[in-house]
Symmetry: C2
Subunit: 288 residues, 2 copies
């Protein structure tokens, strides 16, 4: 499912990312544009915020006025046959509600909501009141919502825990699913030392939990030991949206996106690119 | 020179684009990010303006505050070993001067200035007083400046002509070169009916003029007949910057970038993507 789609001169499928800009280009709409492109999908882009950011820190955040976000959304949706949508950093409550309104109107097919709240460097990326807008308006409209453990706890209305096992992740997935999305993917990979059995920690493996309201799937993977993991969450959600645009169903798209991100992490593990958490290798440069 | 560089696990070369965001992702920083990525170069990105735009029109322009542009520039230059820089839409005079100041300080190696003034859809993308800042401050600091015929005339201080032959392009190149850049590329390809000889129009060929203050090179190419040419100028300048980051000299980088854009135009010629001028195919999807 991964790898560019041979299109033989035909128009590629089109996806849309609604996200913040990362000047260091490891995360945000830059990660989305690269992941979607690497998977053979034409990415359109609505910018919600402009951040000054590198591999070590976020030093400035400029939210784009909501009317400019609305104008971008209209420009894209009026002209392109968008097949899937991914949201990343939405920055403000009015922008969350704007996107939710377009979703409620049926304008955002195959909507993947990555509820970005905090940068991997620790900086808050979301207004306080925007969390309520996520819970009440946007998450219920999503085909898939992809919180990490911290974001899942915030959405579920429980205290974030620095440590979680699979049972905790399943409980969080059920609570987030109760908000109304069709699917929930709770990502445990972001935290070290996740327990994948009740018996002992397995620090060399990571686990995500995928839930559709009926069946729980625990998706295990080997941990890629690398400091170059800036943009992992963005890339996973946008790769999932790209594969949905190519016609995959949610479990297949998530599985393909996980392989894509795994390979991208392996590819950039040896890079020395910035003094902090460097970016992934979405184009497989290091494996050619 | 084109095609991804096999890096065998090594860190890729790094380029920087300073440009506007195009929500339709055919031009602007999105075109730059794709062109640089397709050429095996890691692109960092400073956003100067957020535009609402599709294949048919520019419907909104939000200039990013200059201090936020400065913060992005600092975040990138403080952390990444940038090997080349491309500027696109800079939007305002203070932003032009900001970029020129960093260039004067020696912080912007291998600087390619694409003096974006008007969108291909006709909308003005630059403040009036910014033109003076280009002429007085930024263009003199460029390794290469890449105006089309219209932009070259504005920079040269002469009336733009709707029609030009190679002699006119050479005269414009000499006047722009007198402003101080090391190299000038005057692009004739943007206009139909360029004369490549004195004898008769050759509408199936296009010509650019490359000038270093000494030797004039007329770079001819076959015209790609396609309505999908949105982002051609951005892609040419950013591909040139990417090849400079990979170690090419200016003539080799320009020649490689022209082949890259030609192939990308051929690739997307059959696409039906938007109702106006659709995007290029930088990743060669249509030729695989």
């Amino acid at each position: 499912m991964t790898g560019p789609r041979p299109v033989d001169g035909a128009t590629p499928p089109i996806a849309l990312t609604i996200a913040g800009s990362d000047s260091g280009a490891g995360a945000g709409l830059q990660a989305d544009l690269k992941a979607m492109s690497a998977l053979g999908v034409f990415a359109t882009t609505v910018v919600t915020a402009v951040t000054a950011q590198n591999t070590a820190a976020v030093t400035a955040v400029h939210p784009v006025p909501t009317e400019v976000v609305a104008a971008q959304l209209a420009a894209v949706l009026d002209d392109f046959a968008v097949a899937s949508v991914k949201t990343g950093m939405l920055a403000t409550a009015p922008t969350v509600r704007l996107v939710a309104d377009r979703a409620a109107a049926g304008d955002l097919p195959n909507l993947v909501v990555d509820p970005v709240m905090v940068a991997s460097t620790g900086r808050r990326l979301l207004d306080d009141d925007a969390v309520d807008a996520y819970r009440s308006h946007l998450v219920p409209r999503a085909l898939l919502v992809t919180p990490n453990l911290f974001e899942a706890a915030i959405l579920a209305g429980v205290d974030p825990s620095a440590h979680a096992d699979v049972d905790t992740m399943v409980a969080l997935a059920r609570r987030v699913h109760a908000l109304g999305p069709t699917w929930v993917l709770v990502k445990g990979g972001h935290l070290p030392g996740v327990h994948v059995t009740d018996e002992r920690p397995a620090p060399d493996r990571v686990a995500d939990v995928l839930f559709d309201g009926t069946a729980v799937q625990v998706l295990e993977d080997t941990l890629v030991v690398t400091r170059n993991n800036h943009g992992t969450g963005c890339s996973l959600a946008s790769a999932t949206a790209a594969l949905l645009a190519r016609g995959a169903d949610v479990p297949a798209a998530v599985a393909g996106a996980k392989r894509f991100v795994h390979d991208a992490l392996v590819g950039s593990a040896g890079w020395d690119l910035g003094r902090g958490h460097g970016p992934l290798d979405p184009f497989g440069w290091s494996s050619r």
